[in-house]
């Protein structure tokens, strides 16, 4: 059974701090790893990683994948109150007839609260 585990479950920091969120996985036939941010609505896409060691960066957020050790980290530097959200990690694997589907298996999420 495919498994994605995120840690920590929750985190409280102050504005300006740097945080690191972790995602480890055990899946068959790995295709990609995705990070999403979820505020009080739908998850919004942050990054997709497919290759080890290549950092993806967007503003204060960055992420990297290690396919040998089966984990990814999401870093947020100089945190702001607007970063408060649940961060979801998902791993994509091909499934179905002729690999027709790309199934995402999600971790349970990390709840980040940034205090002023």
């Amino acid at each position: 059974e495919d498994k994605v585990v995120q840690s920590p479950l929750s985190l409280v920091v102050h504005e300006g701090d740097t945080v690191t969120l972790n995602c480890s996985y055990e899946v068959t036939n790995f295709r990609s790893l995705l990070w999403y941010k979820q505020e009080k609505k739908a998850p919004t896409f942050l990054f997709m990683l497919t290759s080890s060691g290549i950092e993806k960066k967007s503003g204060r957020l960055s992420s990297i994948l290690d396919k040998k050790e089966l984990f990814s980290i999401l870093n947020i530097t100089a945190t702001q109150t607007g970063d408060s959200a649940i961060y979801l990690c998902a791993v994509g694997v091909p499934r179905g007839f002729n690999n027709a589907g790309n199934m995402l298996t999600f971790g349970g999420g990390t709840r980040l609260m940034v205090k002023p």
Partner: protein, 113 residues
């Protein structure tokens, strides 16, 4: 934001009644998905579609059925709702099986009394 809408956005129903949730997209994406999100379980895939009339089960498909008669619409039906199906339901779309990036609709909060 991807053009995805879900209806209704909120629904309260009683145990044993049929319920249909609708997902509509304007992106002409081939792949569509239904997830449910529950505390402690994260997002779990119910069913997905890889084309018109082509659907398959996800990890928590029992008690649910789906239909896709048009590219833009993906319906999720609870034939006889139970309290365990109280959840937030999200629809997602993806352009191709290799692109993997799935974009989510706004969600439907369903309460089964």
């Amino acid at each position: 934001d991807a053009g995805i809408t879900q209806s209704p956005r909120h629904k309260v129903t009683e145990t044993g009644t049929p319920v249909t949730l609708r997902c509509h997209q304007t992106e002409n994406h081939r792949y569509m998905y239904w997830y449910r999100q529950d505390p402690g379980h994260g997002l779990r895939l119910i069913h997905y579609s890889y084309g018109v009339k082509d659907t398959d089960k996800g990890e928590v498909s029992d008690g649910y059925s789906v239909s896709r008669s048009k590219t833009e619409d993906f319906l999720l039906t609870l034939e006889s709702a139970t309290s365990s199906q109280t959840s937030v339901y999200f629809c997602a779309i993806s352009e191709s099986s290799w692109a993997d990036t799935q974009y989510f609709g706004p969600g439907t909060r369903l309460t089964v009394l």
